[in-house]
């Protein structure tokens, strides 16, 4: 199939950037979306042009590196699918495709479709962990964890940190990302000791990074390639307010 792509080109963080149009021919339906971009880039290199920079790594939907807004949707049209797992059979001959980077103040563009998601790491640094030094642990079976709790923890822990939630949120809010970590650790007994301070510190860091606030549109959970539920945001809100009133921070 033949496609017309409109891709955001921006040569550096300080540049203005604009959409540029490219035609790609003979795209196979078995290609992944990123392989289609590979083909475009090889073409551009052959023509002596600078290829489109985009983030990617594992190409199996787990590392969370890839991410671009495809026709107005983070990671493209398919639910629960990262851009690298999106295959061209989803598109048809003659389609026009708009490809843009994640847009958020807290995710500045580095180049073209590549953004800096360091803000996510800084949120985790504020409490997205259990403070247990290597060697502290007791036997793994000492504390039974109800299967439903373990499953719930896993539902939240499945987050790949790609940032699609932020990209999809009309407010560029990082609440689903933050809530997923708070929800994961809040669902297992090992996370209880720091539950209160974790919610407090991570939420405040999220604000400091310049993410917006949740207005409950649920665009985030619809865009999340791992299908993480906005339930966890409710839990985070509760944990946060509880920690405000607990006053133990």
């Amino acid at each position: 199939m033949n496609l017309r792509l409109h891709i955001w080109r921006q040569s550096g963080p300080q540049d203005a950037g604009m959409l540029k149009t490219y035609d790609v021919a003979n795209v196979s339906e078995h290609m992944s979306f990123l392989e289609m971009l590979d083909v475009l880039n090889e073409d551009l290199i052959a023509k002596g042009e600078v290829p489109v920079a985009f983030d990617h790594d594992c190409r199996e939907g787990i590392c969370g590196t890839c991410g671009m807004v495809i026709n107005g949707r983070p990671h493209g049209p398919l639910a629960r699918t990262t851009a690298c797992q999106l295959h061209m059979r989803t598109f048809k001959d003659g389609d026009e495709i708009y490809i843009e980077p994640w847009r958020a103040r807290a995710f500045p563009v580095i180049r073209d479709l590549v953004v800096d998601r360091g803000s996510f790491d800084r949120i985790i640094q504020k409490g997205g962990f259990v403070s247990v030094n290597t060697g502290n642990a007791q036997d793994g079976n000492t504390l039974p964890i109800p299967k439903t709790d373990a499953d719930r923890a896993m539902d939240a822990a499945a987050c790949i940190g790609c940032g699609a939630c932020v990209a999809a949120c009309p407010n560029a809010s990082a609440m689903l990302f933050t809530a997923a970590k708070i929800g994961h650790l809040g669902s297992v007994p090992q996370g209880q000791a720091e539950r209160s301070t974790r919610a407090m510190n991570m939420v405040l860091q999220m604000d400091a990074e310049g993410f917006g606030a949740c207005t409950n549109h649920y665009e985030c959970e619809a865009a999340c390639p791992k299908g993480i539920s906005a339930d966890f945001i409710a839990q985070m809100n509760k944990d946060y307010v509880a920690s405000v009133f607990a006053g133990r921070d």
Binding site: G48, I62, G118, F129, P144
Partner: protein
């Protein structure tokens, strides 16, 4: 050069304990005076950086990703082994040790493997304490599954995302230390070279991938946890950025590279669909617990799988290896698939595929149970191929997955360059010629959480660290070399992209040094690789400049090293006149096509010393002594 492996004396069960007592300690107050560089933030790197920082060392961690959480450990699906014997099915440290040595086709160091089995139990405990959501039974206790190469259930898992969860555990531990200011984390920095000063590893040269600046970073020790080199084949299950640069650069600075020819071909990957293919996707080996592998009995049987009656199907693993059946180790299962396809009985486009069929399991257990176990894997398969495994058997084909070879290290995980430690897949130490499923996660975390924190102290306690100045001639020379290489690449301005060279190299390696190798092919590869390398340096084109994010340049630098490293692999494969584990030489097989090991002449680690680009490396041998496990023909029949 004399290779001292520093394996402690005494009975194998006591070696590690004894060694820990004998290792010198660094006083808690003095630990902050020692600095460590950790390159790579996968399981081994993150766990090491976090654990060392917890001890009080001054740690700097480096990753070429935008976040430490993205390392390729994250993609491991199936699970992590540990000799917990929670299932009461006869597991023990000894059995895990034995299984691993045997699985490695008797080419691993006994003492290292035993230590690995010993600390495996601590890993699970540590991860549970970090909040890793391992699968649980209804009673709340940890659940296990069985995995290839073992007859006990000792694999712990978190749905099909075990690697992700373990990595996030280690990443979170690392983030905690970064938040506390104990680790300085450098994102988007790629290591270009190792700084060896007065014979000791004292720092690294990196390129800041955002600004393009070439920087130097000094420390008292350098830890490489930079993963494997499977991407030398271009198509592999490795992530796109995985590369050999860090370890190969260290090799060029004097570190020995051990057993590079041991590459693991994973039997359950999704077959290639076209030339544009950028990577291969692995389907967890755990699928083999319930899926049955088969091909049509007759060549050229083009019927759709549901039209082929039982009598016309060949469940070749169950037939050839009745006791392990579909759970035969990876090398055996892969080769058996290749044989079936070479025999003209492969399925799917190009005949490069075999069926992995769940219809019996669905009949026996119901679709819901199967969906619980493998739902996400089935979804992934469907997204890629457009077919649903609930109705149509999966098609799978082997693909390069893991590399057992790596930098040579002693029992302390230190290479022959003092102060250069190597962990995880980047070293060669624990898996011999073949790695068992669910053992990579175990090894990465064992090295990072429970080995390096002890052994690095022993090295520091020896003392004698004089400060290294940024402007010392050796440092400046190394930086200049890196900068010149970048300039050279940018100025060639030829016709071919780095990817096209990479793809061509990969094809040579897969054909000549892949699942089956022979002398003729390897000799041919040894002529073609230098030619390709020559062309690369004449004809590659890297658009853009070096002072900003330039993904073509990153790739060019990596491919340049693969083009040298590939030769090393072929030399190793050519010299090893035997078949063992992930190294199958067609000349050395039994009458029924099984690998034929030669313990008489090859029970050693082949560690190679660099002698210059294009010049044959020098072989150093470390003899493997088996005092506890009897060398036997590996049989899974």
């Amino acid at each position: 050069m004399d290779l001292k492996n520093h394996i402690p004396s005494g009975p194998i069960e006591q070696k590690w304990d004894k060694h820990r007592v004998e290792l010198k300690l660094v006083n808690p107050a003095n630990k902050r005076k020692f600095s460590v560089i950790v390159v790579g933030t996968g399981l081994a790197g993150s766990s090491a950086a976090a654990s060392l920082a917890e001890l009080g060392y001054n740690v700097q961690a480096f990753t070429y990703h935008d976040s430490a959480r993205r390392a390729h450990s994250i993609a491991a699906q199936g699970g992590i082994n540990a000799a917990k014997n929670y299932q009461n099915d006869g597991d023990s440290v000894w059995r895990l040790f034995y299984d691993t040595v045997k699985g490695g086709d008797f080419r691993a160091r006994e003492a290292n493997v035993h230590r690995l089995a010993q600390v495996s139990v601590n890993i699970i405990d540590q991860c549970v304490a970090q909040g890793v959501p391992f699968a649980r039974e209804y009673g709340g206790y940890l659940s296990n599954r069985s995995f290839g190469g073992a007859q006990v259930s000792r694999t712990f898992y978190a749905r099909g995302q075990t690697g992700q969860q373990l990595l996030l555990g280690a990443y979170q531990a690392l983030m905690r230390q970064v938040g506390l200011g104990k680790v300085k984390l450098h994102n988007k920095q790629e290591m270009l070279d190792l700084l060896v000063v007065d014979g000791r590893a004292r720092g690294i040269v990196t390129r800041n991938m955002v600004t393009g600046k070439v920087e130097t970073h000094m420390a008292d020790a350098v830890i490489l946890a930079t993963g494997g080199y499977g991407n030398v084949f271009y198509l592999s299950t490795n992530a796109k950025a995985c590369n050999v640069t860090a370890t190969y650069r260290a090799h060029k600075r004097g570190a020995l590279f051990a057993n590079p020819c041991y590459t693991q071909i994973h039997p359950t990957c999704i077959p290639q669909s076209g030339d544009y293919q950028s990577k291969l996707t692995l389907m967890s080996e755990s699928l083999r617990n319930d899926g049955r592998i088969w091909v049509p009995k007759n060549q050229g049987d083009k019927r759709s799988p549901d039209q082929i009656p039982e009598s016309d199907r060949d469940y070749y693993l169950e037939r050839k290896y009745p006791s392990f059946g579909n759970l035969s180790p990876r090398d055996i299962a892969s080769r058996a698939a290749k044989e079936a396809c070479d025999d003209g009985r492969g399925v799917g486009p190009g005949g490069l595929g075999v069926y992995l069929d769940f219809s019996d399991a669905i009949k026996r257990l119901g679709e819901k149970v199967i969906a619980d176990r493998y739902g996400n894997l089935f979804e992934m398969y469907e997204r890629i191929t457009g077919e649903t495994p609930y109705q149509v058997p999966m098609r799978i084909y082997p693909a390069v997955h893991y590399t057992m070879g790596g930098l040579w290290v002693d029992y302390n995980l230190m290479s022959n360059v003092p102060g250069l430690f190597v962990l995880g897949e980047a070293n060669f130490s624990d898996h011999g010629a073949n790695r068992l499923g669910a053992s990579a996660l175990m090894q990465g975390l064992a090295d990072g959480y429970f080995v390096i924190p002890y052994t690095i102290g022993g090295y520091f306690a020896q003392g004698g660290f004089s400060p290294v100045l940024q402007d010392s001639p050796i440092v400046q020379a190394t930086v200049r070399e890196a900068e010149e290489k970048i300039q050279k690449l940018l100025s060639i301005n030829g016709k071919r992209s780095p990817t096209s060279f990479h793809r061509e190299l990969g094809k040579i390696m897969w054909d000549k040094c892949g699942m089956a190798r022979n002398e003729k092919g390897l000799t041919e590869a040894l002529t073609r690789i230098p030619e390709l390398r020559e062309e690369f340096w004449q004809n590659v084109v890297i658009p853009g400049s070096g002072d900003q994010l330039n993904q073509s340049l990153e790739l060019g630098l990596r491919v340049a090293d693969f083009l040298e490293f590939a030769e090393l692999m072929c030399y190793d494969a050519l010299h090893r006149n035997e078949s063992c584990g992930g190294h199958f030489r067609e000349e050395y097989q039994t009458e029924d096509g099984e690998a034929k090991r030669n313990d008489q002449d090859f029970a050693y680690v082949g560690a190679w010393e660099y002698t210059g680009v294009g010049s044959k490396p020098t072989l150093r041998k470390e003899n493997l002594e088996f005092e506890n496990v009897q060398l036997a023909t590996r049989s899974y029949k």
